[in-house]
Symmetry: C2
Subunit: 202 residues, 2 copies
């Protein structure tokens, strides 16, 4: 997340990102964020009403970046788009801080039942990924690439669930990404293609 | 988790369970646990060396219960065992406190990168479920019920990942269990059976 803008709001949101990666969600304070920002808490309160307001804005900021990345997956045959979407959804986008960021986001997920605004932001991420999968699968059925008996909504829900599990297990049991991406991609194709590929075990 | 025993250690671990459901992991204190236990912190320290020791013992206690539930899935055709295992792994075992408990465990998962003893306990849960799936799938291939081209290890890893995602999404975006159990069961069978069932979309 390079800091190449003149908008103090964006600087504060980027500082929030760095502070969150370093401290985790439970320990995150406005002091940490203002230290990363390099200016006073008062300046932060000039742009955001409260810590809760800042954090909701931060999730919206992440959402826009996520939406941009998902939107980059377009054009080409449905099967290629499916593979690209799986890669984007599973990828480690911030190599340096990837694990710290995923860990913090898992903490944030555990806050959802206690915080409606966090829950509704997380639902937007979930719905967006679901909608991208559903569309690709529906397109693939229409084009004859995917099995017409597949229900796009159910298949999309299944894939969103698996991706969520891959993110959780990377944090909780330190599973490597590469193998999961490969396994999930192969099984997703198997679910959607109109035949059984002959090389399930390779 | 009924309290029908004379072992104070077990009473303390059950009190830990109740306190964890009520307070969440970040807020959990020995005071909360001793209030649930109904006796002093001193008594807790008589049985456990430290809060960390208590919590590791608590995860071991949960592990044993989990192992017992998974072990109940035995006998019968591989396909029935697969369905039962999916149900047990996804089920809401503590209806009253289910969501609170899952939420607290998600918080605990986010602690894994910072706490080796938590991470190694969580890996035992993950490995155990993996091993149960792997065994059922291998048995099903041997009996001819499942497609012989399936790699039991890869398929088991995929299912463990999906189940982890179902647990996370039930907390983070409040997805209902019933629909996920049904979807996952249908897709798991689809992955393993030696033919394409004709009713993917029902």
């Amino acid at each position: 997340m390079p800091s190449e803008n003149d908008d103090p709001r964006v600087d504060i949101l980027e500082a929030t990102y760095r502070a969150l990666c370093q401290e985790g969600y439970a320990e995150l304070t406005l002091e940490d964020i203002s230290a990363e920002f390099g200016r006073s808490k008062g300046t932060i309160f000039y742009y955001f009403d409260s810590k809760a307001d800042l954090f909701t804005s931060f999730l919206e900021f992440l959402y826009k970046q996520y939406a941009d990345r998902l939107d980059e997956v377009s054009g080409g045959p449905p099967r290629d788009r499916l593979d690209s979407l799986l890669e984007v959804a599973l990828a480690n986008d911030e190599p340096a801080a990837g694990q710290e960021f995923r860990t913090a986001m898992l903490e944030v997920s555990a806050q959802a039942p206690y915080d409606e605004s966090i829950q509704s932001e997380l639902e937007r991420f979930d719905d967006l990924l679901f909608e991208h999968f559903r569309e690709i699968i529906a397109d693939g059925i229409q084009s004859g690439d995917f099995d017409e008996r597949v229900d796009p909504g159910l298949a999309a829900e299944f894939l969103v669930t698996t991706i969520s599990g891959a993110q959780t297990r990377r944090v909780s049991v330190d599973r490597s990404t590469g193998r999961l991406v490969e396994t999930i991609t192969r099984y997703a194709e198997l679910l959607l293609l109109d035949r059984r590929p002959g090389e399930l075990s390779q």
